[in-house]
Symmetry: C2
Subunit: 334 residues, 2 copies
């Protein structure tokens, strides 16, 4: 049995509904926090071209893969990657419960918030800090640790929650792309498990669409409870040339849009823009000392040299934060 009603009436109503949707879409600005500059125009022109079936540049929805770095591209990364700030807070809390975990000068310095000593130890010291705070627990326990930290911690300069220091224009870009049947992914040098804790709520990006660096894990049945434990060896380093490799492992398809902010993203942009069809590589350029931060070639974090030098030749879009963005954070600011 099928309920029936007049076909002509249905067509009329359907037509009116479609027209409404089309007209609303055309009138609404998909990127309201972007100023009307060439950057915004180029992004919209790209999306229009790849989504218009009549365009030579049309790309099927399945191929509309967009990838974004996280630190410095979707949220801030100053004065240190927020994940390191989490690790510093966490090691202090852990040491308060069990001081014996401070088994090295590096960890002692970290627990005292002595970032200078930690920095002097280089990547090895950072790795040691990350291991002790990111392994030896179940994935659920780790998720709880990060959630509690996000709720309690505030940025030293803005006083904002760290997950409020996301870029409103980039949130709009993510949503705009998804509305246009892109699938959006994060491809970050940061920890996949860390980002997954807030990516869905903050960016609308589900855990399965987060690609990142990771530690090994092991499956164990502990007291009858099937558990995935985070272990202390590096499994994958999703940075620089690792980013296209992470995309290969995790997505299995070349993106047509890639966004980053540093030379750590160069290979990802290079790879995404080397396909046969249309593509867009974009860099967020930190030019706004007033509302966010200004840094590029000399930064101790998020260094951007090659990207700036080769942007013109490669056709990368340089998004100038101070010039192109009407608003930086969703609320409040620096």
């Amino acid at each position: 049995m099928m309920l029936k009603f007049d076909g002509a009436l249905r067509s009329t109503i359907a037509g009116a509904l479609s027209a409404t949707v089309l007209i609303s879409a055309a009138l609404a600005d998909p990127l309201p926090s972007w100023r009307d500059t060439a950057s915004k125009a180029r992004i919209i022109a790209f999306v229009d071209a790849v989504t218009n079936p009549a365009s030579d540049d049309y790309v099927t929805p399945a191929e509309r893969i967009a990838v974004f770095d996280n630190d410095g591209t979707l949220w801030s990364e100053q004065p240190l990657y927020f994940q390191i700030l989490f690790a510093l807070d966490r090691v202090r809390e852990m040491a308060a419960v069990d001081p014996s975990i401070l088994s090295s000068d590096t960890l002692k310095a970290a627990a005292e918030g002595d970032v200078a000593t930690l920095a002097a130890g280089g990547t090895e010291a950072i790795a040691e800090l990350m291991m002790v705070t990111h392994s030896g627990m179940s994935v659920e326990t780790y998720r709880g640790d990060v959630t509690a930290w996000l709720d309690a911690a505030r940025h030293p300069q803005t006083g904002l929650r760290f997950d409020e220091m996301v870029y409103q224009p980039m949130l709009e870009l993510l949503r705009y792309l998804r509305d246009e049947d892109f699938e959006t992914f994060i491809v970050s040098g940061g920890g996949i498990a860390f980002i997954r804790v807030f990516a869905e709520r903050v960016y609308g990006i589900q855990p399965q669409n987060v690609v990142g660096s990771s530690l090994t894990a092991a499956y164990q049945v502990i007291d009858g409870v099937p558990t995935v434990m985070k272990e202390g060896e590096l499994f994958f380093n999703d940075d620089k040339a690792g980013k296209p490799v992470g995309i290969h492992h995790h997505i299995g398809r070349r993106p047509i849009l890639a966004g980053g902010n540093s030379d750590g993203d160069f290979e990802m942009l290079e790879y995404a823009t080397a396909g046969d069809g249309p593509s867009l590589g974009l860099y967020v350029h930190h030019t706004d000392a007033e509302r966010e931060w200004a840094y590029d070639r000399e930064g101790h974090i998020g260094t951007l040299n090659r990207g700036l030098a080769e942007a013109d030749a490669r056709g990368f879009l340089i998004v100038d934060m101070a010039r192109d963005w009407d608003k930086v954070f969703p609320a409040g600011g620096k």
Copy 2:
């Protein structure tokens, strides 16, 4: 400007449309190739419960993750995993072009189709065969190799294309789940890059939703062309206890439905059914020597011992191919 029309009329039409959709859905059988047995009823009852907002077992769409093994669960795996049959054909072709690649007795045996010698060499011999046929080329070249093989090769017993030896009832289950806002993934001990070549076309599962075993890869710019090369070290073994780990790395969320056919899937089913909410673990039991194959405890492939022994206690659904499926392959058969 918004086109407007009478609100009451719109409600009436919308109501009629909704009723039509609901009634059509209730009348259409989502699993037409499943016989009306307890297995089918249990699957449908589970899906109804988790998708009904009024049910205590309701699960939000974002949490509706369903994972399926591939070999023996979505397609056949006899007389050997089809990926090994690909490798045997491929090494013979490669040797015809360059005999020097047959650098060991194992590879010589493989190129001659001497499966007995290969099998006697155990997993090490298989690994050697896999490495030489699955590494040292770009991901695009590898994809071309598998595509060409799928087009040319035929199953020795059925004469079917290998990608026609997929189970019609499982294709229907995948589609039914997606129609009910599940996200479907493959979680296979087989090669992720191999499965991705046909998963979208055959199963409707996009490359990013395939989890599997993989080799390392490297990003290189070769003669100016950014390229991801498949390399010859094992990166991840997505089998047994590796399956929940692969799910952690790739999906980052515990599935609520898991389907497998062998003890290699046990941990995946165990993990998926250990969450707080409703869940379903199902095993495809190969009981149909006439239309497919009959094997379980003694199989040289797809051994199913623990799964059968513990199915009752753990509430796993055992799908009996001979009893529960009206049809096995979409067309033709054994």
